[in-house]
Amino acid sequence: MKAYALYKKDIHSELRTRYAINSLAMFIVVAISVILFSIGNEQISQSLTAGLFWVVIFFSAMSGLARVFVSEEERGTSLTLHLIAAPSTIYSGKLLYNLILVFCMNIAIAILYSALFNAFIIRNFGLFALSLFAGNIGLAVSSTTIAAIISKANAKGTLFPVLAFPILLPLILILVQLTSLSNQGAAFSDAFFELAILICYDVIMLTGSYMLFDFIWKD
């Protein structure tokens, strides 16, 4: 339950200022409009829209998800956290907060994106929703762990995408593949292999993160 309390504390302190949520929303709008401007009147293919969709999500995640741990270091409250809870509890609380953030962010991006891009038509909605769901979990888990690592380093802002990209690369490759499959209207049986790999990624990263977080958190 301490994890839930930690999550509630993060939500409350976020809603008080709405600093991160506002800037994240603006970042999403900016990223999508840059892509729209660069496309212009060009007709782009369906597989390209699937790739660009995950480009927007990746960079939005990179701009928003590092804050959970970085803000604790900036405010100097990480020592207090050390005192009140075990490392795994802290990780759970932070992960819960990032999960909610990623889900809100990606649903917003998906709605905006399918409204603004004519070529982005989801033909198998169940597959798309399932891959987005599992992908969000993977994205949140890996980003939370990397955020914990960079919160202890200098040059936090630039380091986060650099460290996160190699870890997220297999996830993004699978998700691009799955999104273009669901845009083509493929059946679940065609995408079974990709879905299995996606769920494996989530499970392995979650296990690895819980095992390694103790070392990151305890100096």
Binding site: P166, M205, L212, F215, I216, D219
Partner: protein
């Protein structure tokens, strides 16, 4: 101070024999790999078979594959020493992992560059996102990120812990590359597998599906062994130098 240095650089009794053996081995591999002729029907022990579509280009296998192999070995070793470090908290293990990664990034760049130059002549373009090219690129990114992380932390034990953790997390992604890559893009490398109607099959192209004959395979394995010994020797020198530097720095501070 000097006694300390002498003590640590005395690598072992049979060091000279190893050095001479390695010199002869690598010299032979170098000469054999470059100079042995390629003929349509090899008879003598020093002749290589002609491969349709590759010709003389096939000889890169003696130098390119060992570099890619060592890049992966270095990655594996740095992961093993990272786990060791997290268990025992001994900074020597961190030095070993650091030395392995230093060599790993060198071999990774070598493999990428030699592969790209070869691809220009064999496939027509420097880069074509073949599964193995993508994997080596991901490995290069991991090495780059690892050094970026390391250079941004000043405190010694913190740096060692965090870079060890990152090494292990990066290693966890390796199986996904192995499984997902052949599904997404076509293999162009010799020995690559293709996906046809959802099944992984051996490719039918002669370049991809080529077989080395006996003496080619022999030189190839000699080259692998030679480069691996060279790697371990360089790695040992590397980590001993790092540990010594640390010791000398600490002695300076004490004095």
């Amino acid at each position: 101070m000097e006694r300390l240095v002498v003590l640590h650089l005395n690598l072992g009794k049979y060091e000279m024999i190893w050095k001479i053996f390695l010199f002869i081995l690598l010299a032979f591999v170098l000469v054999a790999g470059i100079a042995f002729p390629i003929v349509p029907h090899p008879h003598s022990w020093y002749e290589f078979p002609f491969i349709q579509g590759l010709g003389e280009n096939a000889k890169i296998i003696f130098f390119h594959v060992p570099t890619a192999w060592l890049a992966s070995v270095a990655f594996l070793m740095s992961t093993i020493y990272s786990i060791k470090y997290l268990r025992k908290k001994n900074l020597d293990d961190d030095a070993k992992s650091y030395a392995a990664n230093q060599l790993g990034i060198i071999f990774c760049i070598l493999a990428t560059v030699t592969g790209a130059v070869w691809a220009r002549f064999a496939w027509g373009s420097f880069w074509s996102w073949d599964p193995r090219q993508t994997s080596i690129f991901a490995l290069l990114l991991i090495y780059g990120a690892w050094f970026a992380l390391r250079s941004s932390i000043e405190q010694e034990d913190k740096r060692a812990t965090l870079s060890a953790v990152y090494s292990i997390i990066a290693f966890l992604t390796v199986p996904f590359f192995i499984f997902i890559m052949p599904r997404i893009m076509l293999g162009l490398h010799p020995g690559a597998e293709e996906v046809e109607n959802g099944k992984v099959v051996q490719s039918s192209s002669p370049v991809i599906n080529f077989q080395m004959n006996g003496n080619m395979l022999f030189i190839f394995f000699l080259s692998l062994i030679g480069f691996t010994i060279l790697y371990f020797w360089m790695w040992k020198l590397g980590y001993k130098t790092i540990i010594l530097k640390e010791k000398i720095n600490k002695n300076h501070i004490r004095e």
